[in-house]
Amino acid sequence: MVSLDAKVLNHQSLNQQIKSAGEEIELDNVLGQRFIAAGVSDKSIEIHGTPGNALGAYLNGAVINVYGNAQDAVGDTMNSGQINVFGNIGDAAGYAMRGGRIFVLGNAGYRAGIHMKAYKEHIPVMIIGGKAGSFLGEYQAGGIIIVLGLSDDDSDIVSNFPCTGMHGGRMYLRSKCEGIHFPHQVTAKTADHEDIDDIRGYVTEFCEIFGYDAEEILDADFTVITPDSRNPYQQMYVAN
């Protein structure tokens, strides 16, 4: 394990050191440096402090653990790998990710999982332990977004306008979702045993990382949301 003190490094020199260090790296005193581990594959990175925006952008196989909060655009256009955040994350997490995992112990900001895709064996999974902000899963085209709502406050599990433009993938919300408005092109229903079985493995992974009991968490009402069509705008046009 190589230990790097990020205190006096800007993002460019920090990333240079990460890229030239070995496979196991520990970063201390991280304070807002952006783009940490952008495009990195085959490394394991432990981050102490608060990484800045675009942590693990274009991530290509690396595993990142953040012992603190992360800011906006975590895992932007991530291809594969895993990002675990032992805190909250900012906006637009997992933008257009097509593979890998983003697991968050706390809450997520706006637009988590926007443009999430899936491709052949790549099925991205995002699990938010707490609650999610507005526009969760906007334009979702594939993959699985799970929100567990494990925080104590009595706010809704997701804020306004979830699933806007969703046309692929699935979303699971650990809530009856009463009073949550979904757009007309998706179907929200109570998850049955089969639906739950589909995510049991992912939730178990999440629980092993963050120290929860998976069966206890899964033994609750989940709402599963799927799009009605993969071609939502087909009828909108006339050739001219």
Partner: protein, 501 residues
């Protein structure tokens, strides 16, 4: 069948005397216009289906066919033109948004055609390009503000990453999906032979074309199709698409029907699923946010690739470009409102955006006034139709031009403006394997090389007649231009004098 009120736009005129009933027209038309009637031994036409692509005309072995504008027309009315009326019928029939393709066909002013080029006479000799060396090579990217020296007094020669082009023309973004494999192959191989670049568009890079990487610009749009580490590293530069001239402010939408196996693989999305890339990048709301995307791409590629930010030419483009020049981008690409596309809502294509000539002149001036012109190179597109358009663009301040419609025309496009149907009879804007075969990529490559080799000669001749022997000396040299038939405001924006002055 209920009346749909439509008139056929075109008329198929078949000379019965010449027609030998070979049925080539029937086989060649993907729109199903021609049909052989065995009882009457005659070929019939359903003119409602004709798009005037001229495929049957070109392939008829006895030249028996003509496609003409339908003379049977609605009563003439300058306010309610026939097209306007037919568009209302179409929308009343279907409730659909009018969707069309290629560039704005409306009669807006084409400023290239109102700008004239100077020539040397008597006191300032012209140069003969057949005898003297003429430099058409350009480098695109950030240039240093000052000359700096190391401790030994030697000039620091390390430059930020640049794109090197043998002539100041590139093929602009057209995605695999909107155009065919063979069209992409033609562009890629021609770009390599010509020492220029083509652009993947936002549809990812087919695995077969990674070998042309040094002549490829890879694009990143809001949908991020096919964007991953290897893709970003494959190209000579990375282009962030913020906007496009044919449809400024709205996004791309490739219907699921066109997302067949190969396109799905290249875009890294599920087969048959719509590929939606909305207008906004939902992580960009400011120049600072744009800077974040620019630098995330630079970090992911170790600062080895210049980053292009492409925007549509719109109102206040000079201020927008000034912001982009401060975002860390190396190159700004501006796309004028006559730029083509595989599909755009008609109303947007024909009514949104501004001419590239005005946008270019305004941006170049603004960046010079602010002392940041060398921060970025400027690439302009949106209907650059000829070598003289290129020369005028450079003299107005561009570093290079993007061409796409001109390139497609070289590949056999007949500008029928129905790319959105996916039934392109010329094998260009289609994914139908039978149609794709019609474009031979070897022939396509040769035709593109021919076109740009001819343009290069013409550019050299025009430079020579101005007494200029390098693109560097032509760039922003507005004294070489004069306007004709332009008002004072137009001349002021273009920064040129009127002819005769």
């Amino acid at each position: 069948m209920p009346v749909n009120y439509m008139l056929p736009e075109f008329e198929v005129e078949r000379s019965d005397y010449r027609c030998i009933r070979c049925r080539v027209c029937e086989r060649q038309c993907s729109n199903g216009v021609h049909r052989y009637d065995i009882d009457g031994d005659v070929i019939l036409s359903d003119e409602y289906k004709c798009v005037d692509c001229q495929r049957c005309v070109c392939l008829c072995p006895t030249h028996a066919l003509k496609i003409k504008k339908n003379e049977a027309s609605l009563r003439e009315n300058f306010n309610w033109k026939q097209n306007t009326i037919l568009e209302i019928y179409k929308q009343a029939n279907t409730g659909g948004v009018l969707l069309s393709s290629m560039g704005n066909p409306e009669p807006f002013p084409v400023y290239w055609d109102k700008i004239l080029i100077n020539a040397s006479q008597v006191t300032n000799p012209s140069i003969d390009p057949l005898r003297e060396p003429m430099e058409t090579r350009v480098f695109l990217g950030k240039k240093p503000h000052d000359i700096t020296r190391d401790e030994n007094g030697n000039i620091n020669t390390e430059l930020p990453p640049q794109i090197e082009l043998e002539l100041p023309v590139m093929f602009s973004a057209m995605s695999y999906g909107s155009i065919s494999y063979n069209a992409h192959k033609s562009l890629a191989t021609a770009a390599e032979a010509l020492g220029i670049c083509y652009n993947t568009g936002e549809g990812g890079l087919h695995e077969d074309f990674y070998q042309y990487g040094k002549n490829t610009i890879v694009q990143v749009a809001s949908g991020r199709f096919g964007v991953y580490k290897d893709y970003l590293e494959a190209g000579a530069a990375i282009e962030i698409k913020m906007g496009q001239g044919a449809k400024p402010g709205i996004g791309g939408h490739l219907p699921g029907a066109k997302v067949q196996a190969d396109v799905s693989k290249t875009r890294m999305i599920p087969e048959g699923s719509d590929a939606i890339s909305p207008a906004p990048h939902h992580d960009i709301y400011s120049i600072e946010d744009l800077r974040q995307l620019v630098f995330s791409l630079k970090e992911a590629t170790d600062y080895k690739k210049p980053v292009i930010v492409k925007v549509a030419a719109v109102h206040n483009i000079a201020a927008i470009a000034s912001g982009i020049a401060r975002s860390g981008a190396d190159i700004i690409a501006i796309d004028g409102f006559r730029g083509g596309t595989g599909a755009a809502p008609t109303r947007i294509r024909d009514n949104v955006g501004i001419p590239i000539e005005l946008a270019l002149a305004a941006v170049d001036k603004r960046l010079r006034d602010e002392g940041i012109r060398q921060n970025v190179s400027l690439v302009v597109g949106g209907s650059v139709r000829s070598a003289s358009d290129v020369v005028k663009a450079i003299a107005l301040g561009a570093d290079a031009c993007y061409i796409a419609t001109s390139a497609l025309l070289a590949l056999g496009c007949h500008l029928c403006r129905t790319c959105q149907s996916g039934k392109c009879n010329w094998g260009i804007a289609t994914q139908d394997p039978e149609l794709v075969k019609r474009l031979n990529p070897e022939t396509g490559k040769e035709r593109l090389i021919n076109l740009l080799t001819a343009w290069k000669h013409e550019i050299k001749e025009m430079m020579g007649l101005m007494g200029i022997n390098s693109i560097e000396a032509l760039r922003g040299n507005r004294l070489m231009l004069r306007g004709v038939g332009l008002n004072e405001k137009e001349l002021e924006i273009l920064g040129i004098s009127h002819a005769g002055e």
